[in-house]
């Protein structure tokens, strides 16, 4: 599933382009197969075995950094092939899911969370700005588009940019206090903002109060309603496949923008901010503007995810956008690896699917997830995939 295009060079081994090709294909197909098996399994033993396998793989990577370097080098060498194969896997994936609606649902939610985590990553990962209000931006986006669609019959495709603009405006508003407050104090400002947003959504009449908004119409594209199944190549994909492709496109868009921003002056400025705000200011970096920008970008992407979520489940309530949702997104970024696009996406998939798949432990799953997160932070504090040095072209 994971589209691994983030590779930067490590120790590049030039002997044998075919070996690199094999490594890339092996890693991508292998992870896709693993993910599929994980999605479709519903027996406890199988799930536990798959989790153990994943754990073993990460343990191997942890204990033998050379392995990781080799894979990264292969991906860097075969960048175009890796990207293409990734796209093909993502496009083909729905045909191998046996029409399981649950698997589709998990994938869609995971992808939306991946977008949210990528959005937060601009702040938390790149610039080390704590933001506990991503859930609020997500909610503002969802509510804006849902209200537009329900009250004014605006089409999904039009609500998408409008919701993003509205959420961005709120994002900048939230960014204002960041001009003076920082660290724990800024964290509290964002927490407070998130709670105020949630409470207002919960209390206003025109947002439906605690009952939320019901009956958001399915989007249409060229006369094809997203509520209807896709029929192609003699296959019949369940209606969720529409949203699967839509969210996949959004993830693709987020990856591209994350990558471009990361490698641009903006990304460098954010990293400088993270390293030392005062030193960054002395270098002529407009600290306030870049902080505000991080808030804006975060809200913008989060609103996209919110809009798709609203139209996908066709029912939203304030409880989808609580403080704990923001914390979950934050955990995804930290567990995945700060400022590493691939890591953040994997973190999002991992933390979305783990609680779902642990339904077998029913009552104890949240407990289990909490313990896993704490252990994870103790054992691998840099995240699954830590940030790597930038590579602006040129092979070493």
């Amino acid at each position: 599933m994971a589209d691994i295009t983030q590779a930067t060079p490590g120790l590049l081994n030039r002997n044998g382009a075919s070996a690199n090709l094999a490594i890339v294909a092996g890693v991508e197909l292998g992870s896709a197969i693993l993910l599929r098996a994980f999605l479709l399994s519903d027996e406890t033993a199988v799930i536990v075995a798959l989790l153990a396998l994943m754990g073993a793989i990460f343990a191997a990577l942890q204990l033998r950094p050379v392995l990781e370097e080799r894979i990264v080098a292969a991906f860097h060498d075969r960048k175009r092939f890796a990207t293409l194969l990734g796209i093909v896997i993502v496009l083909a994936c729905p045909f191998f899911l046996q029409g399981s609606g649950y698997a589709f649902h998990l994938l869609i939610v995971s992808m939306l969370y991946a977008v949210l985590a990528l959005a937060l990553n601009f702040q938390l990962g790149s610039a080390n700005i704590p933001n506990f209000a991503t859930g609020a931006s997500y909610g503002i986006g969802a509510y804006t588009s849902a209200l537009l669609a329900l009250n004014f019959g605006v089409s999904f495709w039009l609500t998408l940019p409008v919701a993003a603009v509205v959420a961005t405006a709120f994002g900048f508003l939230l960014g204002f206090p960041s001009m003076r407050t920082k660290e724990s104090y800024l964290a509290l400002v964002t927490i407070a903002f998130g709670i105020v947003a949630h409470q207002l959504l919960n209390n206003f009449d025109w947002t439906g109060g605690p009952n939320g908004l019901v009956g958001i119409p399915a989007p249409e594209l060229f006369g094809h309603s997203f509520a209807r199944p896709i029929e192609a190549f003699g296959f019949r994909l369940p209606s969720q496949a529409n949203f699967y492709y839509l969210s996949a496109a959004l993830v693709g868009l987020s990856i591209v923008s994350a990558k471009r921003l990361h490698e641009s002056r903006v990304g460098l400025a954010w990293n400088a901010l993270r390293a030392d705000p005062l030193a960054a200011r002395c270098q002529g970096i407009d600290v306030v503007w870049y902080k505000m920008l991080a808030f804006g970008v975060d809200a913008f992407l989060a609103a996209f995810a919110g809009t798709i979520y609203a139209f996908y489940v066709s029912y939203i309530s304030p409880d989808n956008f609580t403080f704990l949702v923001s914390v979950t997104i934050m955990t995804m970024v930290i567990v995945g690896g700060m400022d590493n696009t691939l890591g953040v996406i994997i973190g999002a998939f991992f933390l979305t699917m783990l609680p779902e798949k642990l339904r077998i432990f029913s009552d104890y799953r949240l407990l289990f997830v909490g313990v896993v997160v704490i252990l994870f932070l103790i054992l691998r504090p840099q995240g699954l995939f830590p940030q790597r040095a930038r590579n602006y072209g040129g092979k070493r």
């Binding site: 955990t331 407990l367 909490g370 932070l377």
Partner: protein
């Protein structure tokens, strides 16, 4: 009107006292460990459950105590238990994050809060359901037409004496000097033959035990306890500590009184105030931090390269 005003004032002081007991823990822990212990609310909220279990144990094992006596004993037991829980958590979890970036510790403690809540929910019999919590006392004193519940007086008196005890401890005992030394500079404190680990444990014990009292008062005031009450209480206590200025005891008290004040005012003055109270509380938090970025009594942070 005067009677009504007095009632509201009393209500404000009770809420302020309860919030203070929670906020003090946040401020103390931040001052000493430089870490925000986000699960402080959840740790404290474990106290009423311990107390409930203790009441049952006390009355079941034929100790000639009933009603208020049993409850007071249970509260003492829960204080000790929660203080000990704080020490264990410090040893198990917080210690691992001493050198880590502040964000890591923050997320870890949020996860820790989830773990504690879930442990209560799953291990306590019927933990997901709200549990009635006995009132410490239902007696009232009448002063003219003003009705003063004895419970309110107890809450206020206990909070004030806790604050005084805490100040005395920090300023006039050897342990207090050590705690302040570690808060000031961990490395230098070590050179002065102070063991920071021991001080951290002591600080955790104090903060958690004080928080336990606050949580017990809170649920006794509400008459009911649920496993997830700790989230809101923790958030409010944290906000109070932050707007007062993290690390400052006086700030924690001031912040708590401010938040309790707006809480009371909204419930009196705003129509449908009960559902909008959190909006006003957290709007106040934002406003204070915009005007005073490091809290009301917080020391301004000077940037160093």
């Amino acid at each position: 009107m005067d009677a009504l005003l007095a009632q509201h004032l009393l209500n404000w002081l009770v809420l302020g006292s309860i919030y203070t007991l929670i906020a003090l823990g946040f401020s103390l822990l931040f001052g000493v460990l430089d870490v925000i212990h986000f699960s402080h609310g959840d740790v404290s909220m474990a106290a009423p459950f311990v107390a409930l279990a203790a009441i049952q144990a006390v009355t079941a094992w034929a100790v000639p105590l009933t009603g208020t006596g049993a409850l007071l004993l249970a509260i003492l037991i829960s204080m000790a238990a929660i203080g000990f829980l704080g020490v264990v958590l410090e040893w198990l979890v917080m210690r691992r994050f001493r050198a880590a970036p502040a964000m890591m510790a923050l997320v870890a403690t949020v996860a820790l809060g989830t773990v504690i809540r879930e442990l209560i929910r799953t291990l306590y019999p019927q933990g997901s359901n709200p549990k009635p919590f006995p009132a410490i006392t239902t007696e009232v004193i009448r002063l003219g037409d003003i009705v003063v519940p004895v419970f309110s007086l107890i809450v206020i008196a206990v909070s004030i004496s806790t604050v005084i005890a805490l100040f005395a401890l920090l300023n006039h005992t050897r342990v207090g000097v050590r705690i302040r030394a570690v808060a000031e500079d961990r490395a230098v404190a070590r050179l002065m033959a102070i063991r920071p680990n021991r001080i951290f444990a002591v600080t955790f014990f104090i903060a958690s035990a004080v928080g336990a009292v606050g949580a017990v008062f809170f649920v006794s005031h509400a008459g009911v306890v649920r496993f997830d009450y700790g989230v809101q209480l923790g958030l409010i206590g944290f906000s109070a500590a932050v707007i007062g200025g993290l690390g400052s005891m006086q700030g924690a008290i001031l912040g708590s009184l401010l938040i309790a004040g707006i809480d009371t005012l909204v419930q009196i003055g705003v129509p449908d105030g009960a559902s909008y109270r959190l909006v006003f509380i957290f709007a106040l938090v934002i406003a204070v931090l915009v005007l005073k970025p490091s809290g009301i009594l917080g020391k301004p942070v000077f940037e160093k390269v």
